[in-house]
Symmetry: C2
Subunit: 446 residues, 2 copies
Amino acid sequence: MNATEDMPPAEPVGSRASRIVIVGAGFAGLEVAKELGKAGLPVVLLDRQNHHLFQPLLYQVATAALSATDVAEPIRKILRKYESVQVLLGEVTKIDLQRHSLELADGSAVGFDYLILATGATHSYFGHTDWARFAPGLKTLADARRIRARSLLAFERAERTVDPEDQERYMTLAVVGGGPTGVELAGSLAELSRFTLARDFRSARPESAKIMLIEAGPRILPAFSEESSAYALRRLEKLGVQVFTGAPVEEITRDQITFAGHTIPVGLVLWAAGVAASPLVAQLGTETDRAGRVAVDSTMRVKGLQNVFVMGDAALFLDDDGKPLPGLAQVAKQQGRHLGRSLARHLREGTPLSPFVYHSRGNTAIVGRHAAVFEQGRFRLTGWIAWLFWAIIHVYLLVGFQHRMTVSLQWLWRYLTFERGARLVTDDSVEASPVETQSASKRRAG
Amino acid sequence: MNATEDMPPAEPVGSRASRIVIVGAGFAGLEVAKELGKAGLPVVLLDRQNHHLFQPLLYQVATAALSATDVAEPIRKILRKYESVQVLLGEVTKIDLQRHSLELADGSAVGFDYLILATGATHSYFGHTDWARFAPGLKTLADARRIRARSLLAFERAERTVDPEDQERYMTLAVVGGGPTGVELAGSLAELSRFTLARDFRSARPESAKIMLIEAGPRILPAFSEESSAYALRRLEKLGVQVFTGAPVEEITRDQITFAGHTIPVGLVLWAAGVAASPLVAQLGTETDRAGRVAVDSTMRVKGLQNVFVMGDAALFLDDDGKPLPGLAQVAKQQGRHLGRSLARHLREGTPLSPFVYHSRGNTAIVGRHAAVFEQGRFRLTGWIAWLFWAIIHVYLLVGFQHRMTVSLQWLWRYLTFERGARLVTDDSVEASPVETQSASKRRAG
């Protein structure tokens, strides 16, 4: 937690075109790049992927409702019209504050005058890194594809075995973590097995699959009101999901999960319990919280540094009440837009950076087909109206027009037929035992 | 080439419900399963993938025009309504003709009375198996994803380097093999670089990428007339593709290709030069041709065996002129339908198996955006009418209704905008050096 006091001061404003480097093309990184691009400032945007990911819909890729191309868009395409913005594919391995330089995995270096880190969050297994192998989390398209493959293969194995015990085990799926992602995954898996797959098998009976949602705290959706939380619980139970609360996970192995004294044979465990800031930001050596988020001031500047900013899930930004802003797409998007405008004015007119104020547009979680909870302050909505609200907002927010069109069509189709077109296992070998997951040890971007 | 004379004769007809096992859910396997399912006969269909692949459009997935879900459909979904058909995911490793049994990769066994092999073809590197690593071929969705990632990464590398020589090398792409697949890949890559990517980069200039099509024989599209072949050549050259004929490849390494005395630095080599029957059929120990295709009689029964059939790309079926039928989707489809009907009648009524006669619906190759060649006997069509013809036929042939709808929309969209939504690299690490290809050593199905 020691700031690098020996770092030279930032370049004087206006001396020459300052080089701005953004790491990460999530919601925050894209917005800041767009605003700086509009102002015609030279920007380099680095990401380890060539696409921007619409993470709020990623669970639908994992449960075979949408395909990868529906929720991702090439970064170059999004930023094509901003000619001063250069997009580079690359993984940052080292931040050198003394030399104002980033080191990439291939050994090359990228210099900066201003550095904006928007590298997001990754899974946290609370020290149990060995669980990552058996309980994949959901952050990237590769994660989603892996989870989809494992879920579908669990049913395929159930169809092929003749041992009833094995069959029961294969069709027991556990989701760890009762936040919005866990609730969405459990609801979507229940629908996949109850409706979509039910008619497809001869020996296995996917409709009787056991879906468990396991939460350590006293209730699911803790960020919502008790009423919304109770509604979500009722809906999940109606879908046949077994919800366990006050049940911290004690052990996860290849085919068993232990929680609250039970040890249950499972075919698949998904991890939606914890996130931490991407490890890259720890290299700044400045103040962080327990989740690794970097403390920033009201302008998103890193406390103790002059020319480095952190936004989005990797930042610890305290609101007026001293509470950290949540890790939501809308927070990241608003922060990116604000910093882009504020920094552009600062660099061109010398005005000081302006403080960011978050305007919540409400909080949503999807429980299943036309069932959701929505809250904004004291305004609450549950049921299919909340779901419709969510669906419209999300289609609207999708980056490209083509996506809006095809996603709407797919949803309409799925709504009418319970069909899921994206039910594909596309990995090389389906016979392989559970694929090693690497997500936990990887950053989301940069 | 020794038939297993000591094999016991097939079960007497009608004694009990005969167990029919089909290996491979390509065009031939699916059709035979449908026909036997219609007749209510018990069938097990084995495939190592959970999806049927519409291979004629696979090159569009490889060049980012379509996404995987557009050209693939879950096998269970296609066969859902045929209740006597059980679909099993599994890889056949051994055919035991004595015991009438198949061994799967996981050690389990599946017994059969009748065995239908429709395992398709795989790449053939003509003995140079070491080339497979550097020059991937196109048979599976995993292949397509790999080729897409490598093509897009070649341009990303060009954007990141500052060395003009490296930049030129990265943007040199070679396609080996001047048959329909090679022509389609080269044309589609040229369009991808000239139109779609041209506007996306700042330093690299994808529109000046060098696309080479390398054919060992005297002309491209040798299965077509000389006129069609000349038309395809003109169109490719108009797209900026450099076509080399009479140029057998001598060596392929990580970053070079040698042919006809030239050694040229390349960023990517794609292999579309040769196919061979899937290696599984060689276990029958019966007569094959040089490409490993199994000689079958006019009923598709393997010569020398009583109860084993081979269809599609893995079969050597001679027409009335003694010429082998080509490896086309329409041949496989017709064979599957015929055998299904013929075998159902045989099993239920004791009628002998009937001989198969192929009815060609013509032969197409796509050179680029609204440019194709079509030939049926002496009837020939080139240009955009042939292209439209092809587009309509292919959308019509796509298995699911949802696919027809979304593929039509995507094509319309792409036609109007030159945009390609599927331009995604979704593998875990983009920094990795070329991914190992395993395709060459793998069977397509079964």
